[in-house]
């Protein structure tokens, strides 16, 4: 039984009606509980709960301190390539977009790795566009092997792979998988992905599970907030996905990201605007529902907001970020996926984290 069967249990749920019917007393009851059901989680995503964010924040902060302490794990993305065979209408790498396409050579990657390692970072996330013929599994594997000389933990955010391909990369030093479903709405998904291998909704939906089966230590899921007209829908299903994986693979560390759409090349406009209040509400609800699941916040969010999110349940943040291929050693932005909102260096992020009374953590794992 895969996650699709869990999802199908909610086919008949009238989510808008459920959310509208939630009263403040329902939210109070959920906040008084130790363990939450999926319905309780949905209650915390309601408009009624939006009026009770401080009470939710107090509970989320308490849970976070006990589970994770006053620490924030740091990482940075490293773009290996931006070749892409898809036409995701919301993405800057869309094959129809006329941007410069490139892929790092081993020598170029070494220079990037040295520049990042010099900042002290030990955890890295490597990314490619969705072009399996260009950025092959073997290419990504050889990059991981090279990077393992510089970093203690390597995660991938690439196209959906088979279990054997994930196992191949684990053998070459990869220990984490990040893969976003983008949207859990199948019809919308097919509309947004008109061409390319990514169009296969089911193959992507089961990718996190294949990563768990292959032996990834951490698996990070998420939806791109703004694609759905009702933001709670993908927020809810992302939480369910994380809970499903945590229950089925207790030995894997499951994490969630909450990416909001950012300006990019192309004309696609978000279907909904997820406000800062919405984002905070979602993060609090996730922390209260999924007490021990990691929460990753990227530089899609601006510095001031990121700073204020720290005590609310964040476990992992990116720093010293560029979304351009080779961007850690070049100022050329012509290859970037999207514009970031928090350009702070690793050192600046450390100071910001410390100013909040938290400790920036560089190393939390190595292959033993």
């Amino acid at each position: 039984m895969g996650f699709s069967e869990t999802l199908s249990q909610y086919d008949s749920l009238d989510m808008a009606a459920y959310l509208d019917a939630v009263k403040p007393a329902d939210v109070e009851r959920v906040l008084a509980q130790h363990s939450l059901t999926p319905q309780d989680y949905l209650t915390l995503l309601s408009p009624a709960a939006e009026g009770m964010l401080e009470a939710m924040a107090q509970k989320a902060n308490d849970i976070s301190l006990r589970h994770f302490g006053k620490t924030i794990q740091l990482f940075t993305p490293l773009y290996l390539a931006n070749y892409c065979t898809n036409q995701c209408v919301y993405c800057g790498f869309n094959t129809a977009n006329k941007i410069q396409r490139t892929q790092l050579s081993a020598a170029e990657l070494k220079v990037e790795a040295e520049a990042i390692a010099a900042t002290g970072l030990k955890h890295i996330l490597i990314l490619t566009g969705d072009a399996p013929a260009k950025s092959t599994v073997e290419y990504i594997g050889s990059c991981a092997t090279l990077l393992s000389e510089y970093f203690s933990s390597i995660s991938i955010e690439v196209y959906a792979m088979t279990q054997d391909e994930y196992a191949y990369l684990i053998d070459r030093g990869v220990d984490g998988l990040t893969i976003y479903q983008e949207t859990y709405n199948k019809d919308l998904y097919e509309e947004l992905h008109p061409k390319g291998p990514k169009r296969d909704y089911a193959f992507r939906l089961d990718a996190p599970e294949r990563g768990c089966e292959a032996g990834m230590r951490t698996v990070n899921v998420g939806a791109l907030l703004g694609l759905e007209s009702v933001w709670q829908r993908d927020a809810f299903y992302t939480g369910l996905h994380a809970e499903y994986l945590q229950r089925k693979y207790p030995g894997t560390s499951i994490a969630i990201s909450l990416p909001r759409m950012r300006p990019h090349v192309g004309a696609y406009e978000p279907a909904s605007i997820v406000t800062d209040r919405n984002l905070v509400q979602l993060m609090l609800a996730q922390r209260i529902f999924l007490r021990s699941v990691g929460i990753t916040v990227s530089t899609r969010e601006p510095a001031a907001l990121r700073d204020n999110l720290m005590p609310l349940g964040v476990t992992k943040m990116s720093a010293g970020v560029t979304t351009a291929v080779g961007g850690h050693t070049s100022d050329d932005s012509s290859t970037e996926q999207f514009e970031i909102s928090d350009p702070r260096s690793v050192e600046e992020m450390c100071r910001a984290i410390e100013a909040k009374g938290f400790q920036p953590v560089f190393k939390d794992w190595e292959p033993f």
Binding site: R66, G69, G120, P250, F368
Partner: protein, 262 residues
């Protein structure tokens, strides 16, 4: 409160006057660790090897651990016995000494220890000369396995890690204290000094406290409070607590009255 110098806890040939073990995780800044060590009086400190970057010029937790502390590296992150053994060997190779706290956890939601894998790792590492302190559920059978495997102590949890819920396994810990010849060190779940005191009054050999100190508003003051509580509990245990009255006084002896006056 003064430590009782005639009441040392000896583990792996090391004599300890403090029965409070502390940790290094979850602090807002590692720079506070020396102050917590000082205020709590703790002499043993555990550190996750996964967090240690021996090559880092700064930001290395080891730089903040006072020299006099007995280092207790732990195998946090290990999902089975093999990984725990590898981490322990690396800890020793990195100069962290022979003490090792075995944590084998393959459930990231509750962080409950895997007793079977822990016992396997204990057997291997004890045979290699490690001083093995395994973190386990409060279970008599697991504890007996650990005795046979060569453990130096048994560290049952009071409640799940980081829960601060107190000595929820009290009756099971009491059985271990009564039946197991090794020191019983309550590890995990203790959220308040009164709970540590209670464990020590029962006869626990020591308590390991991390989250309740690290996540406190004032970790240094909370470290002091835990140090005092553990000493008080131990002193009460040694003083042998007076019997607790059932609440009724009865001069007659309905069951033994037939014996007449002696």
């Amino acid at each position: 409160m003064e430590a009782n110098n005639n009441d040392a806890l000896v583990i792996g040939g090391v004599s300890l006057t403090s029965r409070l073990f502390t940790g290094t995780g979850k602090y807002g800044s590692d720079t506070i660790i020396p102050d917590v060590c000082a205020s709590s009086g703790s002499q043993v400190i555990t550190v996750a090897l996964r967090r240690v970057d021996v090559n880092a010029a700064t930001g290395n937790v080891m730089q903040h651990i006072p020299k006099h502390m007995q280092l207790l590296p732990n195998t946090s992150g290990a999902r089975n016995a093999d990984e725990a053994v590898r981490i322990a060997r690396l800890a020793r190779a990195a100069g962290c000494g022979d003490w090792i706290k075995i944590e084998v956890i393959s459930d990231n939601k509750y962080l409950l220890p895997d007793g079977y894998e822990t016992a396997k790792a204990t057997e291997i590492l004890a045979s290699e000369g490690f001083v093995v302190l395994p973190y386990v559920n409060a279970d008599l059978y697991i504890a007996r396995d650990l005795v046979n495997a060569g453990a130096a102590a048994v560290m049952p949890l009071g409640a799940p890690i980081g829960s601060n819920r107190g000595l929820k396994t009290k009756e099971m810990v009491r059985i271990l204290i009564d039946e197991i010849s090794l020191p019983i060190i309550v590890d995990a779940g203790i959220g308040a000094p009164s709970q540590a005191c209670e464990a020590m009054e029962m006869g626990a050999a020591a308590c390991l406290v991390n989250t309740a100190i690290a996540a406190a508003g004032d970790p240094v003051a909370m470290g002091r409070a835990f140090g005092d509580a553990v000493r008080a509990g131990r002193a009460a245990y040694l003083a042998r607590t007076a019997a607790v009255s059932s609440g009724t006084a009865d001069a007659s002896s309905p069951l033994t009255g037939f014996l007449g006056g002696m």
